[in-house]
Amino acid sequence: MKTQIANKLKIVSTKLKPILAKSKSVIIAIFIKIKPLVEALFAALLGFAIGAVLMLLWKFDPIKAYSALFQGAIGNFDAIARAVGCLFQEGIEACKASGVIYGIYDIALTLTNATPLILTGLAFAIGIRAGLFNIGAEGQVYMGAMAAVAASLFSLPPGLHVFVSILFAMIAGALWSLPVGLLKATRGVHEVISTIMLNWVARFLVYFLVATALVDPVRAEKSIGVAPTARLLPFPTTDLTLALVISILFALIVYWILWHTTLGYEIRSVGLNPDASRYGGIKPTRTMVSSFVLGGFAAGLAGACQVLGRPPTYALYQDLSNVMSLGFDGIAVALIGRNHPIGIIGAAIFMGGLSAGSNNMQINAQVPLEMTRVVQGAIILALAVPEILKIFPALLGAVVKLFSLLRQFFQRIRMRRIKRTTS
């Protein structure tokens, strides 16, 4: 009897062993995967704490402010649950009639805000993965939005028109990114310089086009509206459109490209170690150009989403206010999301919520705009610090390089002066 049990136990334990070993490695793998998430959570808490201290210092009630922030960003969980339940059981029309559907209004606003940020975040992250500091998304967004509007000059059947407009926008974004890559590859022009310059060129070019070729004949403060056939229609009672799905899909595609294709392998390899990449038969310059183009696609698409999928405007304002600063916000999103497509989706939603909620913070907690900005800044900074630290050595290197160049320059002058005085 005893031996039987012992034998059984032995069998069970031998069977369990590989399973245990496997589950151990799985647990470790999961831990590695969620570690950034845990870190981000702590960073966010730290940011909120700093914000709270700042508000206390200026005699605002942080609890009231943060609950307003939360309200504005997400809303009421009950209301959301009721709205979703209603949508499934009774259909849209009935929910609209009873008003239950308004429960999703706040969270929908957050997601609407997040949509373009996902894409501009990707544009920056793809650059970083290739070792590039691409801050040109801003200008590429303008160009993309402009091209998407311009596509409405044609008349095409619905569906196809959306597709063509998006294609226009992506190509425009990529075309605005391509010279940066080519200049870097052939002439060694630093991408930070060329993208900043191209951002301004794009800005004034689009100002000009919106005021001339694309101007709305009736209302001069904006461009012509996007043709109804090219519009993405909002979900009832919200501003949320298919653009969100498109941008999440694009993020997944970028993820797939970066980690599951040869191109992505080469991009990441060049970003981590250009010397080893050259040794591995990869041409760093060519890879950099591809990453610029890929980033341009993302930024152009962001522009398209802002004009095709953002009711009620469906146009470009002449001052570009509905596409302004998305590219730069994308940098923060990418840093918070650790330059990972999936992280970026989360980070963009977080940022979207932060800006939706801070409006509510102003209205319902009487925290002035300046203070909400400060609090926002504290939170974003706390979240972005790990990535900033990662980039820091490269920036420091650039500064050191600059100084040594200056030094050599002055030395040369000094030598020349000595030569002149001696001869």
Binding site: S25, T262, L272, N273, D275, R278, Y279, G280, R407, Q411
Partner: protein, 517 residues
């Protein structure tokens, strides 16, 4: 020995934060006015011990007496104040500063904007140089100075800071034989000026040449201490390794076949205009290992890069398997049967932040066997390939998904070698194949290289390690300033002659050129 010792370290233990135990109760003492050799293999604990002495690391346990006084150093500046200074293997000099500026750096005066009295400082530095019998051109830009001179700048820097205990980490690794000779002379002068010097090395000959006493470490323990006059290479080697050194590699005589690599009149010029390879010709045949010996920086890197498609030639032809490789990049060359083990595995041979899988396909990542639709990489197949390499080369790794950075140096190099040797190449170019590896890994990788040769591959081996060159090569070429001083079979060469040739001295007794075939 009635006088107090300069340094006394007692039962020093050091555990790194990651759990590695580097020192397990080491005792060390240093007399005044002696040159003390610290000998040991990689990982024996030499660096850790000296880093503790110079204030870079804090010991987990144990105490130190400096000139009889107990001391705890919080940082290197603390140690410097007690008169202890270390010259690292990689110099801490600002390349664009003059030598004088580098010597004064950090000592300009304590206040932020206090003006630097250059003339006074210069006089001080000059007296320091005189006392130490050292001289450097003080106004020359540091990066324009030879490595040996830069090293002197570092030493003067220490002396200027009134250091009387000087620690030198692998000081001769970067020097030519002639520079080493001068350097040793300097050390003796300093010793006679009653400075105490610790010199870290793994070269037995240098220990015997210059030191007064030797402490040998092995795996974090004291393996012995001996007056140099009582030591022989055999004794030291036994202390260091625990058993007799370097079991020789079993190697049958080479059976060279057709020439695989043929270089004629190759010249390579840097972007800066410096001609690093001049009119060089060589042939490597199937089934032989051609070793290129020489002090580093004599054109080896450039030669290897030219052959492996990483550098433009200026003139001359490189022919691999009968076809000229002008204008071909690394990938085309790999397709034509080249395998390349680069000299710096961490910087060039692999992407440290990539996983083992990702590293195992670097350079072959576009091959059909790993590729699916739309440029998809079949990670499943890559993983299989990696596991196979890990098994074949007995690489110690927990998983194929861990970053290459997490492997030890030996396993990293094994991975690079595994990837390259597994390509079934016809030509293998390997540079500094076993640098910095422990004896086991070294033996293993060298064995594999000989096995490749026996399979009829042509092997070009570049190494600064003479041991390696002699052990593996079927023919040896000595390179000096981008030219061959001669090509000969190993049995026709002895160490002294090769040493002379590496230093640029012609050694005419050796048959030169093609005669060695």
């Amino acid at each position: 020995m009635s006088e107090t010792l300069a340094v006394q370290m007692q039962t020093i233990e050091k555990t790194y934060p990651d759990g590695t135990v580097a020192l397990k109760g080491v005792n060390f003492d240093l007399r005044r006015g002696e040159i003390h050799g610290l000998l040991g293999e990689n990982g024996a604990g030499k660096s850790t011990l000296t880093k503790i002495l110079s204030g870079l690391l804090k010991p987990t346990q144990g105490h130190m007496l400096i000139n009889g006084q107990p001391r705890h150093f919080r940082n290197p500046a603390d140690a410097l104040r007690s008169g202890i200074g270390m010259v690292h293997q990689h110099f801490a000099l600002v390349p664009t500063f003059t030598a004088l500026e580098n010597i004064l750096l950090g000592q300009e005066g304590s206040r932020l904007f206090s003006s630097l009295n250059l003339n006074k400082a210069r006089k001080h530095v000059e007296t320091v140089m005189q006392e130490g019998g050292l001289s450097v051109p003080l106004d020359a830009i540091t990066e324009s100075l030879a490595v040996g001179v830069q090293q002197r700048v570092e030493i003067i820097k220490m002396l200027y800071r009134a250091v009387d205990i000087l620690i030198l980490d692998e000081p001769t690794a970067v020097l030519t034989p002639i520079e080493v000779h001068d350097f040793f002379k300097t050390l003796r002068v300093l010793r006679d000026a009653s400075k105490s010097i610790i010199i870290i090395t793994h070269k037995l000959k240098e220990i015997l040449d210059v030191t007064d006493r030797v402490t040998v470490l092995r795996q974090g323990h004291n393996a012995g201490q001996i007056e140099t006059k009582d030591a022989t290479p055999g004794i030291l080697a036994r202390m260091m390794v625990g058993h007799d050194v370097l079991p020789s590699i079993e190697k049958t005589p080479a059976q060279p076949g057709a020439p695989i690599l043929k270089i004629s009149n190759l010249s390579v010029t840097d972007p800066s205009g410096f001609r690093s390879i001049e009119n060089l010709s060589l042939e490597v045949h199937a089934g032989e290992i051609l070793g290129i010996a020489g002090v580093e920086g004599n054109g080896q890197t450039e030669l290897v890069e030219a052959i492996t498609g990483l550098r433009e030639r200026e003139s001359g032809d490189i022919i691999v398997n009968g076809s000229n490789i002008a204008g071909l990049g690394p990938r085309q060359l790999y397709q034509r049967g080249l395998a390349h083990v680069p000299e710096d595995r961490r910087r060039i041979g692999m992407v440290l932040d990539f996983s083992l899988s990702e590293n195992s396909i670097l350079g072959i990542h576009r091959e059909k066997r790993f590729k699916g639709f739309w440029g998809k990489i079949l990670w499943g197949k890559v993983g299989e390939h990696t596991r196979e390499l890990i098994k074949k080369f007995s690489i110690v790794a927990s998983d194929v998904k861990v970053p290459a950075r997490s492997l030890s140096g030996g396993n990293q190099q094994k991975l690079v070698c595994a990837r390259e040797f597994d390509k079934n190449p016809s030509l293998v170019v390997a540079a500094q194949l076993t640098r910095g590896l422990d004896i086991q890994a070294t033996q293993y990788i060298r064995d594999q290289l000989v096995r490749l040769r026996d399979q009829g591959k042509a092997v070009l081996l570049v190494s600064a390690d003479l041991e390696e060159i002699f052990q593996l090569s079927d023919r040896i070429a000595v390179i000096y300033e981008g030219k061959f001083m001669g090509i000969a079979k190993p049995e026709e060469l002895d160490r002294e002659r090769i040493g002379l040739m590496m230093g640029g001295v012609n050694a005419p007794a050796t048959p030169v050129g093609g005669a060695a075939r």
